[in-house]
Amino acid sequence: MMTLGLSWKSIRHRGFTVALTVISLSLGVALLLGVERMRSEAREGFTNTISGTDLIVGARTGDVSLLLSSVFRIGNATQNISWETYEKISKNPQVAWTIPLSLGDSHKGYRVLGTSAEYFDHYRYGRKQALEMAEGVRFADTYDAVLGAEVARKLGYQISDEIVLAHGSGDVSFVEHTDKPFRVVGVLKATGTPVDRAVHVSLEGIEAVHVGWDGSGDHDGHDHSNCNHPAHDHGDHETGMDRLAAIESTLAGEDPNSLEPETITAFLVGMHSRVDAVFLQRSINTYKGEALSAVMPGVALQELWQVVGVVETTLLVISLFVLGVSLAGMLSSLLASLNERRREMAILRSVGARPVHILSLIVVESILLTTASIAAGIALLYGMLLVARPVVLEKTGLQLGFGMLSSWELILIGLVMLVGLLVGLVPAWLCYRRSLSDGLTVRV
């Protein structure tokens, strides 16, 4: 205790150099914690891109590519699945709900997702959060569109704006369904998932656009290399006009079921009981009627994260190095201070300080420095979060948590504290040895 007061006064006396040490160490701490928080949020956000869904079903393909095409809307599914199969599986008594997904069109670089009302009822992300409307309503009419938060924000769309869908998924598509504009009826709240980057329309809407397109007779004029639209069946030309007629009757409110698609890209399945998912998965994977794949989103997400996760590990290594450098900085400044403090140590020895007091003087100093740096680092972290949160959310859709320190972060802080203490032991031990050999000889 008597050395605590002395340590503190000594630190204050060397205020400037000590402040530099604390600043550099606190930057290291803040960086480490910041990177860790980004890492865990990114991982959490990633693995919670979709939740509450027990199975994703699509045409036979790999787990990751099905996940990428259906949930992340990256790349295209090579095959579609038939509507009959979808209906058959959704009627399985163990299945609670299904959400059909039909992909293939885009709007100004954003994917268009054809789906049903179940999407808004059952789709979950994060910690089983449901989709919420920021404004407007769900789509009800064939030409209604509900925008993801990012689409609305980036393109500046408002309710009742008209948008034109383009064929294929390229950023710049020259083939637009200009004859069938959609009307924005709703905008979803931001989710930090690919949902934000989608334009949602009804399956009927997708059908209507393509039937109309096919019906125009100009079919061979556009390139199909970049699209695989379920409704875009090339063997179906002769029925085009019939279907157009069907749409018109639907629009007139005559027959709501006539716009049933023939194929969809994939669908999501929610089970009554989670346990049944394994059995359904097995039977879908071995389904004789069509080559299907069913994957559990959690498993596929983990698999995908292992690929993406290399980046986060690199980040962690870099921030650990930065912390190591700042700890080395503390070590060198403690060592440098020892020479100027030799006199101080001899004086303390002369008034009866034992070598262990001298040892504790340095150890206490390094503990105080590390503690101060950690406190400053945490303050800095929250300061940075406060500033960076909106920017990161806008640029990446990553929702940085502003909450309390997680137990993992506390463990990291504890480790920094421990390493700080160990670093302090080096000069403390040197000083101890020196004070034994110097005794009361004052060396300046």
Binding site: H13, V351, G439
Partner: protein, 232 residues
């Protein structure tokens, strides 16, 4: 050489007996003292040029060094029976020490410097009812009353030595060891300082061992002793 002093006590302050100390095994001993007794309350002058084993003797008397052969007995306690930590505690309780220069810790105030030994010794702390008041009283006696609030780095060498004397004296330790405390002072100030030190030692009842190469001061002391090349 051992003339009786005014203050005769049963236990001698220091007894050195067939003392040998060598910094390295292969060399001949740096310090050899066959027999030396310092009676309690005496004021001793130990004269020695640099390299005469002065620092070694002070290290042994303060208990920082342990003798390799022979005995060092301070206030009736044999140092060679005690461990390092025990000698450190003994020093804290019973010995006041004044360095040649740079006596003060720059980040402490004058008063904090003076009261520093009380942090390490309960015994000395108990003898002082109010540390700050006692520090001021000592500083006052040493002519430093007005400078108690000044930053230690702003004090002259002579003023610093007087603060160091106050620190050595606080809590009335039985033995004051002074390592060339006047070497940085000019002649007039040296004598003044020695006399102040005498007065305070008398008040506190402390024995004074004053080591210096300046033989002109020897006449002021009760006893003197000469170290020469480690062999008196």
């Amino acid at each position: 050489m051992n003339e009786p002093s005014s203050n005769v006590d049963a236990v001698p302050a220091i007894v050195l007996d067939s003392l040998r100390y060598a910094w390295s095994d292969v060399m001949s001993p740096d310090l050899v003292i066959n027999d030396l007794q310092v009676r309690s309350g005496d004021r001793w002058f130990i004269e020695g040029a640099s390299g005469s084993g002065k620092s070694t003797l002070l290290g042994l008397l303060s208990g920082v060094l342990a003798p390799q052969k022979g005995g060092v007995t301070v206030l009736g306690k044999r140092f060679d029976d005690m461990g390092g930590a025990e000698r450190d505690r003994f020093r804290a309780d019973h010995i006041g020490y004044i360095f040649q220069m740079f006596n003060l810790i720059p980040y402490l105030s004058v008063i904090e410097n003076v009261t520093l030994p009380l942090r390490f010794s309960k015994r000395r702390r108990k003898r002082v009812s109010d540390p700050d008041k006692e520090a001021r009283r000592l500083l006052e006696h040493l002519g430093m009353g007005k400078l108690a609030e000044r930053k230690v780095t702003k004090l002259s060498v002579g003023q610093q030595q007087r603060v160091a004397a106050a620190r050595a004296l606080i809590g009335s330790p039985e033995l004051i060891l002074a390592d060339e405390p006047t070497s940085a002072l000019d002649e007039g100030h040296s004598e003044g300082f020695v006399k102040l030190l005498f007065d305070e030692c008398k008040t506190a009842g402390s024995t004074l061992v004053f080591v210096s190469h300046d033989s002109r001061l020897a006449g002021l002391f009760d006893q003197s002793f000469r170290l020469e090349g480690g062999h008196p």
